[in-house]
């Protein structure tokens, strides 16, 4: 099918979809309406389990099984990217040369690094009380580490980031989440039920298993994102075709694509 034919077919389908969707929108409850039956019940359940952050309660307490599924998707995506971007036969690892970084950038980056790391860990730890949690805090921690790449250079980053340890941390986070579920299944009513003492409302130690699951997800997301960025940086900065051109899997030189 030609490009123009594809575009015309898409425009026709988009027109039909847009018309149907616009008609359906008029029948939806108006924006800002008052009727949220699931929301009211979820808030009621969160307050009953003394979790100040109702979103964290929904994620890690009422629907903790779905979060296990999401976390597994993340784990599988990181695993897939690592396998796809590994160094194959026919590629060589070259040493990157350091670039000149201005003193102001270097000072600012190195000053911000511990602050950003602390903020990320704070966001993970306070997920059951204030807005935050494992997912948000994990990404903040992972990107905070890469301030070192911006402020210094790639070799400094490699020193604080032994990739195999982070791969281990990723797997440990996933394992901890599942193990918590198995333990609650053995100890109490169901897989991932909230069996720990619920503590005081609005305190750091409240809401039972939400704290543990938050920490597990935070570790998994942080280590997973670091591993992901490490594989991409490796490919972009270090790995290149070896002299002689790309080779196929059995070592024979491939012919150039026309």
């Amino acid at each position: 099918m030609t490009r123009r034919g594809r575009l015309r077919l898409f425009l026709l389908a988009a027109l039909v979809l847009a018309a149907g969707y616009a008609v359906a929108c008029l029948d939806l409850p108006p924006f800002g309406g008052d009727r949220h039956p699931y929301g009211d019940r979820a808030v009621h359940a969160a307050l009953a389990r003394r979790t100040a952050n109702a979103v964290a309660s929904v994620n890690f307490d009422q629907r903790a099984m779905d979060t296990l599924g999401e976390e597994t998707i993340l784990f599988a995506a990181v695993l897939g990217a690592v396998v796809l971007l590994r160094r194959t036969a026919g590629e060589a690892r070259t040493e990157p040369e350091p670039a000149r970084v201005s003193a102001g950038v270097r000072r600012l980056g190195l000053a911000l690094l511990p602050v950003a790391l602390l903020v990320g860990l704070y966001v993970v730890a306070h997920g059951n009380v204030t807005p935050g949690g494992g997912f948000q805090g994990g990404v903040v921690v992972a990107t905070a580490l890469h301030l070192l790449y911006v402020a210094a250079d790639y070799r400094a980053l490699e020193r604080i980031r032994p990739v195999s340890r982070y791969e281990l941390g990723d797997a440990a986070g996933e394992f901890a989440y599942t193990m918590t579920g198995v333990c609650t299944a053995l100890a109490g009513p169901a897989f991932l039920a909230n069996v720990l003492p619920l503590g005081t409302f609005r305190a750091l130690a409240s809401a039972g298993t939400v704290v543990l699951l938050n920490a597990a997800v935070g570790m998994e997301v942080a280590c997973g994102v670091v591993v992901l960025l490490a594989t991409f940086l490796d490919q972009a900065v270090e790995i290149a075709d070896a002299p002689g051109g790309p080779r196929s899997a059995d070592g024979a030189p491939e012919e150039e694509p026309t």
């Binding site: 952050n53 964290a56 060589a92 350091p98 670039a99 807005p131 990107t143 790639y154 960025l229 940086l233």
Partner: protein, 109 residues
């Protein structure tokens, strides 16, 4: 008042999304995606969703554009037949071709 803010944020998001699609060069698109992430975080804050805004800010303005830029570098670098000569993190541009200084297979630096 909040209605006006939400409406403005919605239109900003729609404009940023259109700009992200219309920019065909992936390197430029990465920056527009970063701006889209920022406007989405703003919209989520106005709709009283701080958790979601935190998530979107960290991911949409830093993570996705960074990975797109690294992919662009890897893809264009491969087509030049060797490491790129342009200055970037980790490369100095004025010391001859890097291909001459690369260690051959089995040779130590």
């Amino acid at each position: 008042m909040t209605d006006v803010l939400v409406a403005v944020a919605l239109l900003l998001v729609a404009a940023a999304a259109t700009a992200a699609v219309v920019n065909r060069d992936p390197a430029r698109q990465a920056f527009v995606l970063s701006f889209l992430g920022l406007s989405l975080a703003l919209l989520f804050t106005y709709v009283q969703a701080p958790d979601v805004a935190l998530s979107q800010l960290a991911v949409g303005s830093a993570l996705t554009p960074l990975m797109i830029l690294l992919t662009v570098r890897k893809v264009t670098r491969g087509s030049a037949g060797g490491p790129a000569r342009t200055a970037g993190p980790g490369r100095r541009p004025d010391r001859g071709t890097a291909r001459d200084r690369r260690p051959r297979r089995g040779e130590r630096r």
